[in-house]
């Protein structure tokens, strides 16, 4: 596809999705399969975000499932959207991956064309429009529910949002979890959340939430010691996105598992 040289009255502006539509590449075009058809495709599961003293933490397990099968063991559902924000997805993996790609490109595209980045709230708004654009797909079972979080450089604080399938956008003050294991993960976050937690405490809390989600939800993957696959956990502060390395996460999960084992020993003795 060739990008034309747009006339003033036909110009798509700084919006990448509009540009894609202009050149005939509408990413959310869905052909209808009829009412009762549902497509079986890989699904991504538990992701979460929680605020801490210097910003926000985002985390997600690595499993993708298709029905009762494990489709992928090392999917990355939590990725940087740009330097100071991240996006996490649950729902149909293929659609979600494309949505992330378009979202990342949209932020970069705007920044290059306009010479400055979009505000954090503007980014959340952009993502909600992408979710909304996928509504037709969602009606056929190809829904995507993201979480968006980042460090707001204008307000000097971490902020986070969750979304519904129609593109509804809700800013949360403390934490958010979504996906099939979102319920148990939310409960752990709710019980463990303290305002102005340190980064270390918040990472521990996120790990605990994922561990408990994996314990009750078969679609959520726990830490995979056998293959050394650990969840994605990243902090976003004024210094930008930083992913925690696997060695650090391995230590934390080891401590959590040890704690649970001691608790079990206490019950049985």
């Amino acid at each position: 596809m060739v990008v034309p040289f747009f006339d003033v009255d036909n110009d798509p502006g700084s919006n990448f999705t509009s540009l894609l539509r202009k050149v005939g590449l509408d990413p959310f075009a869905v052909s209808s399969f009829g009412d009762s058809q549902q497509v079986l495709a890989p699904h991504a599961t538990t992701v979460l975000a929680v605020r801490y003293s210097d910003g926000v933490i985002m985390a997600g397990d690595r499993r993708a499932t298709m029905g009762n099968r494990i489709a992928n063991r090392e999917m990355e559902k939590v990725v940087p959207a740009d330097r100071h924000s991240g996006v996490a997805i649950s729902g149909t993996a293929g659609v979600a991956m494309d949505m992330i790609k378009i979202f990342q490109l949209q932020l970069e595209h705007f920044e290059k064309l306009d010479g400055r980045p979009i505000s954090l709230e503007g980014k959340a708004n952009q993502l909600s429009q992408l979710v909304r654009a996928n509504l037709a797909g969602a009606m056929q079972g190809l829904g995507v529910i993201p979480i968006f979080a980042g460090y707001d450089l204008l307000r000097n604080t971490g902020r986070l949002w969750d979304f519904d399938i129609t593109g509804g956008r809700y800013e949360e003050r403390e934490f958010v979890a979504t996906g099939s294991g979102g319920g148990p993960a939310s409960t752990v976050l709710k019980v463990g959340f303290r305002p102005n937690m340190s980064g270390d405490d918040a990472v521990d809390l996120a790990c605990r939430a994922l561990l408990e989600a994996a314990d009750v939800d078969s679609a959520t993957g726990g830490p995979d010691v056998l293959r050394s696959i650990y969840p994605v956990v990243a902090t976003i502060s004024v210094d930008g996105w930083e992913r925690r390395d696997d060695a650090d996460l391995a230590r934390r999960f080891e401590a959590l598992v040890l704690e649970q084992r001691q608790r079990q020993d206490g019950v049985s003795s």
Binding site: F5, F16, K112, G115
Partner: protein, 225 residues
């Protein structure tokens, strides 16, 4: 019925070229040179917001001189083209050469067919894995495309500036030395340029993914002092 006057094609082209050149010569010049870690772009520009140098893609930069609205339109075309290509294929499939060809086509087409030619000269640079694979494409108002080595000068007074720069410039220069040489060449023997009248940016091999970086006035001051 009125017969239009006959104008020889040579004359027509010459008139158009003169018109475009006059427009370009009114603006301030711009230089691009290789330095040890990438490509440096320096321009005289008193505006802090209307930029002559900007980012197109991960390893590709754009610079234009002449009429701002015209080269900015070309810049936007470049960003769109690169982003759509990267989305449709992969980030590795976006390269300066094909975009430079597109620019040459647009400028050439406009020069011969439209009422008014573009009054711009543009430069498209791509930083490679090493100095040998760096690319500088200089595209003229009439679509002439030049693949330049090492350094490139655009805009009014280009010959004098290029002459001064060739006497001092070395491809192995470190960044601050290269900046000082470029600024001296732009200024000439009788003037000194201050940070607030300059626009300086690099495409650096040592920056991951998006290699483009623009320097603010303080950083430019630090280079010059």
């Amino acid at each position: 019925m009125n017969q239009p006057f006959y104008v020889a094609p040579e004359q027509l082209m010459k008139d158009r070229a003169d018109y475009a050149r006059k427009g370009i010569a009114r603006g301030r010049a711009l230089v691009a040179v290789q330095y040890v870690d990438g490509i440096l772009l320096v321009s005289e520009n008193t505006s802090n917001t209307l930029r002559k140098i900007s980012e197109i893609y991960d390893r590709i930069g754009f610079a234009g001189v002449g009429k701002y609205n015209e080269f900015d339109q070309l810049r936007r075309f470049g960003v769109r083209n690169a982003d759509v290509r990267g989305y449709q294929y992969s980030r590795d499939d976006v390269e300066a050469r094909s975009l430079a060809n597109e620019y040459a086509q647009i400028l050439g087409q406009t020069f011969t067919h439209d009422v008014k030619p573009y009054e711009v000269e543009i430069l498209l640079v791509e930083v490679g894995a090493d100095q040998n694979s760096d690319q500088l494409f200089h595209i003229m108002y009439d679509g002439t495309l030049m693949d330049e080595r090492g350094l490139s000068v655009l805009g009014g007074d280009a010959e004098a500036i290029g002459g001064r720069l060739r006497e001092t410039w070395l491809p192995g220069d470190v960044l601050d030395v290269a900046v000082r040489k470029c600024v001296a060449a732009l200024a000439g023997p009788d003037r000194t340029l201050q940070a607030d009248g300059l626009e300086v940016a690099i495409l650096s091999r040592s920056i991951e993914r998006r290699c483009f970086k623009r320097f603010d006035d303080q950083e430019i001051d630090a280079f010059l002092s």
